[in-house]
Subunit: 219 residues, 2 copies
């Protein structure tokens, strides 16, 4: 069996980090089909990449294929899942239990990828004190008090844009170090905090425009 | 008042399309604060961009500011919302009513940005025939029959990765022209169809890695 070592390879480029889950999905499917080895060429074909790029991306994770045999699938799945952080539980809070926030609380799938939302915050008296999908909803004023108990690193931001920055400042002051921003607002954070933007509305804007103007990108 | 004309400006670069919602959020907030005009410099500062880039992006939408006065906010909000497609209803189907799919059906916020999910498909007998948030859930076998009635362009893909490609092929064959792919799998489509990937799991992978290795990007 190919020797696969997992070193702590540190900070790797974002494009690579975003491609690794594609490779993981591909080899997970092959695994369920009973396959044992996979070549970088096959992963490349399945994901629309160049084989050399696949091999380079995987080398960041210290995954190296064997000549004429390829990568051992079971090890690869385990290594990638661990490296990407999906097998660890990362505690998170959600801020703003409106339509999108409430929907995300319902999505138990996030937990399978390591995101464990342990509490949510809002100011709406109709929902404060209740819970969604087993996740308690606290009043926003209780955030600092809860932080002392829960020791959370990640905050999911789903408040209205009008209070997005104010809530961000509060989150950072309370000790949140990573913000998953679902609002279409550009929040500002100090260097000690990092932001991942997932704007569903920007994706919609791109899709609407492309459907209206389906010509090829040739200029 | 500054004259603001909206021409059909066609296909514009994706980075611009992704920034326009930031500008829109910024001016919407200024609008609620009673402001009447805004400069590109102010929008740039609020969104972390260069003023020249903001002006260039807005010129794609035929928004031109007046010297020393800037852009008229009310017109700008209306023009951007219309241009981005948020004021039109775009009918969509959702495929795969699992945890994430069910959560997205709950999110009425998508409708405020023009996405009108008129039906969902699954094969689980426990949910086929029921509805979520007023949206009927049909058996996947009924897709072609429903398409003839609903004439939908957009499909939201939230199935398990093991059937992501198979479902994609079915969607495309039935007439879906734009796929919003929430699975971490790289789906393949013909040139006549476009894909927007929103991988929540890739965002999580980036966030976990950056939290683990918070040093600056200096190599």
């Amino acid at each position: 069996m190919g020797k696969i070592l997992l070193k702590n390879t540190g900070r790797i480029p974002e494009p690579t980090l975003r491609r690794l889950p594609w490779y993981l999905s591909t080899v997970k499917i092959l695994q369920t089909e009973g396959e044992v080895y996979v070549s970088s060429t096959r992963i490349a074909k399945a994901t629309g990449m160049e084989a050399s790029q696949v091999a380079k991306d995987l080398s960041y994770v210290d995954l190296t294929g064997r000549t004429r045999i390829g990568y051992e699938i079971t090890s690869m799945v385990a290594t990638l899942e661990s490296f990407l952080g999906f097998t660890h539980l990362h505690k998170a809070y959600l801020f703003g239990v409106g339509s999108l926030g409430g929907a995300l609380l319902q999505d138990s799938g996030l937990k399978h990828f390591g995101l464990y939302i342990v509490g949510a915050f809002d100011i709406n008296p109709a929902i404060v004190g209740t819970s969604i999908n087993g996740i308690p909803i606290y009043h926003t004023d209780e955030y600092e008090k809860r932080m002392a108990i829960d020791q959370v690193n990640i905050g999911v931001l789903t408040v209205p844009i009008s209070i997005a920055q104010e809530m961000t400042d509060k989150m950072v002051a309370g000790g949140i170090r990573g913000i998953w921003n679902f609002t279409p607002y550009r929040i500002h954070v100090p260097d000690t905090c990092m932001v991942q933007n997932t704007s569903l509305y920007a994706s919609l804007a791109v899709m609407y425009n492309r459907l209206l103007h389906p010509e090829k990108e040739n200029k």
